[in-house]
């Protein structure tokens, strides 16, 4: 067992940033361990993206965009299927027998990493925030108890390993250009099996194209202090001005004012943007754990004793219905 395998993801025909984070870490580990650096991408990848990948120090790039049935019939892979993706990755594992497989901590990576680990008897650690190569094995840090504690564990040398990286936790670094060997592969799933697998019928996008809180570098969140779902228009306007995502506290999600996908916190998303602006949010511990790792936190709240001020970098005490529109106005004026 030797070598690294990064599992890359595509979104809107582009290799995702979290995949580039994975590649950057993979290259570091491969260099340190003097091992082969491989990557796999599932789905149709265009030439532009293959070009882009040449800057990340990959030795072999496996591309899987088809499925071959038992009778040799080849079909295009369309839509996400965890089982078929798992088989595609497993077929590469069979060829190169990697020691370390790295996923992004996205909905896809979270879904696939445990499957790959179990099927191939690999050790597994999910949502890692730092990785270092040690003689005893691979040492990783990962948040537990929703980030109240950081644990350091070693995935020992003797066993191959699967890890996933918490998104937005690593830097992206390009290497000098090299030409990876490109290998097209096909997953081998028989029609019989496919018939019994769950199928993706449809993907529903929100009516307005919005940035997702887990990927945005700026988030503007609203809480119960917004008083009415209609008032979120001032949050949306501020978010648009900053090219930010809209976030929400659980109080407003449970009230049906905002979708769950926007909820930040223990039972929502754990985010770490460059800037988090909390408007009318009290700062309960379950909200706090979801956003405490933001690089800069701004709170707007009319109660000067609100807990949110205890862990914000900057606070303004006052009525958000005056402050938020004023902030939008000032930001629209370029310097």
């Amino acid at each position: 067992m030797t070598g690294i395998l990064s599992v890359l993801e595509l979104k809107n025909d582009e290799v995702t940033n979290s995949s580039l984070e994975v590649l950057t870490e993979a290259k570091k580990i491969a260099t340190e361990k003097k091992q082969d650096n491989n990557a796999i991408v599932i789905g149709e990848i265009n030439n532009n993206n293959v070009e882009k990948l040449k800057e990340y120090g990959i030795n072999s790039l496996f591309i899987c965009s088809t499925n071959t049935n038992k009778d040799g019939r080849i079909t295009l892979l369309s839509g996400y299927s965890p089982e078929i993706y798992t088989m595609a990755i497993s077929s590469v594992i069979e060829i190169i027998k990697p020691e370390i497989i790295i996923f992004s901590g996205t909905s896809v990576g979270k879904d696939l990493a445990p499957r790959i680990a179990v099927n191939n008897e690999y050790s597994i650690a999910t949502d890692c925030i730092s990785i270092s190569v040690k003689p005893e094995g691979l040492e990783v840090k990962r948040p537990i108890y929703a980030g109240k504690i950081i644990e350091t564990v070693i995935l020992k040398t003797n066993n191959p390993k699967v890890i996933s990286l918490k998104i937005n936790s690593f830097n992206i670094k390009k290497q000098s250009v090299n030409e990876p060997k490109i290998k097209s592969i096909s997953s081998n799933v028989s029609e019989n099996v496919i018939q019994h697998l769950p199928v993706l019928k449809e993907t529903i996008f929100p009516e307005r194209k919005t940035l997702d809180v887990s990927e945005a570098s700026i988030i503007v969140s609203g809480g119960r202090g917004m008083k009415d779902p209609k008032n979120f228009n001032i949050i949306e306007e501020l978010a648009n001005t900053l090219n930010a995502a809209v976030g929400a506290s659980r109080a407003v999600v449970d009230a049906g004012w905002r979708p769950h996908s926007e909820q930040v916190g223990q039972t929502g998303k754990i985010v770490s943007p460059n800037l988090y602006i909390a408007c009318g949010i009290s700062g309960a511990v379950q909200h706090q754990v979801g956003m405490i790792n933001s690089k800069c936190i701004v709170a707007i709240n009319k109660d000067k004793n609100a807990p949110i001020f205890k862990f914000s970098d900057y606070g303004i005490v006052g009525d958000l219905f005056e402050i938020v529109p004023e902030l939008t106005k000032k930001l629209k004026v370029k310097n």
């Binding site: 179990v118 537990i144 504690i149 564990v153 019928k201 529903i204 929100p206 303004i316 902030l327």
Partner: protein, 251 residues
């Protein structure tokens, strides 16, 4: 229809977690244990299915120390039919080991629907349900906010970044539950008393050692220093904008 729900007890989300002196465990004294929040959403979905189809039986299963009985009793009090306690001395940390033990017990029955939380909020693994699907060769749809069952077919909404995927599958199926729309109901005192009299099947688990992952230490994340209140009301906005633009350079 036969439904199984696997539940884990975790520290109440409001609990302050204290690291012990050995830096490898957490202080147990001040912790209140509760049902993992995502498992609660799964339980509520199961109870609603049962309300619509009285032919449904609900079994709950939990692997853990003596204290988990209390949660199992609570779930019986709100409508589960059976509970199975896989008894250990303490929580097992290695997800692989947990998945194998649960998978082995699950195999003993034929369930149509097996529910898990998407993750446990103590270990934050996001693994067990998905692993059991692979081990027992049952398809698994992870991260579902809601699902419907009609004539042996399930339609499930899986939440991904910025969209919802709608999956369809035949039963049996494993679902890992994201936060749903329905909060878990409370047991009445009377039902709770009745549930306490019901026997919970208990199976002693011999802990399998798997030392492929070694815990080195636990630590607190770096503390954020208390920030400053820039000012009050609208007048403070210019200063905020100046700081974000010029000092922090983030906008």
């Amino acid at each position: 229809m036969k439904i199984l729900i696997c539940i884990k007890q975790v520290p109440d989300t409001a609990t302050k977690i204290k690291i012990s002196e050995n830096k490898k465990t957490i202080e147990q004294t001040s912790i209140k244990y509760e049902i993992n929040p995502y498992d609660e959403y799964a339980i509520e979905e199961a109870l609603r299915l049962k309300e619509n189809d009285p032919n449904t039986t609900i079994t709950v299963m939990s692997l853990g120390p003596e204290r988990v009985k209390q949660s199992l009793t609570k779930i019986i009090a709100i409508g589960a039919d059976n509970a199975i306690h896989l008894k250990t001395n303490e929580d097992i940390k290695n997800s692989f080991v947990v998945a194998k033990i649960l998978a082995n017990e699950i195999k003993k029955e034929r369930y149509d629907l097996i529910l898990f939380g998407k993750k446990s909020v103590d270990q934050d693994n996001n693994q067990i349900g998905i692993m059991i699907g692979e081990i027992n060769q049952i398809p698994c749809i992870s991260n579902c906010t809601e699902f419907k069952i009609n004539n042996n077919t399930i339609t499930a909404h899986r939440e991904i970044e910025g969209a919802i995927q709608i999956f369809e599958s035949k039963l049996p199926i494993i679902i890992t539950q994201e936060k749903g729309k329905n909060e878990l109901r409370y047991p009445s005192l009377r039902n709770l008393m009745a549930a306490k009299k019901k026997t919970i099947e208990s199976i002693d688990i011999v802990e399998q050692i798997n030392d492929d992952i070694e815990l080195i230490k636990l630590e607190y994340p770096p503390v954020r220093k208390e920030g400053k209140i820039i000012g009050e009301g609208k007048e403070a906005v210019s200063e905020l904008v100046r700081i974000l633009r010029e000092e922090r350079k983030i906008i």
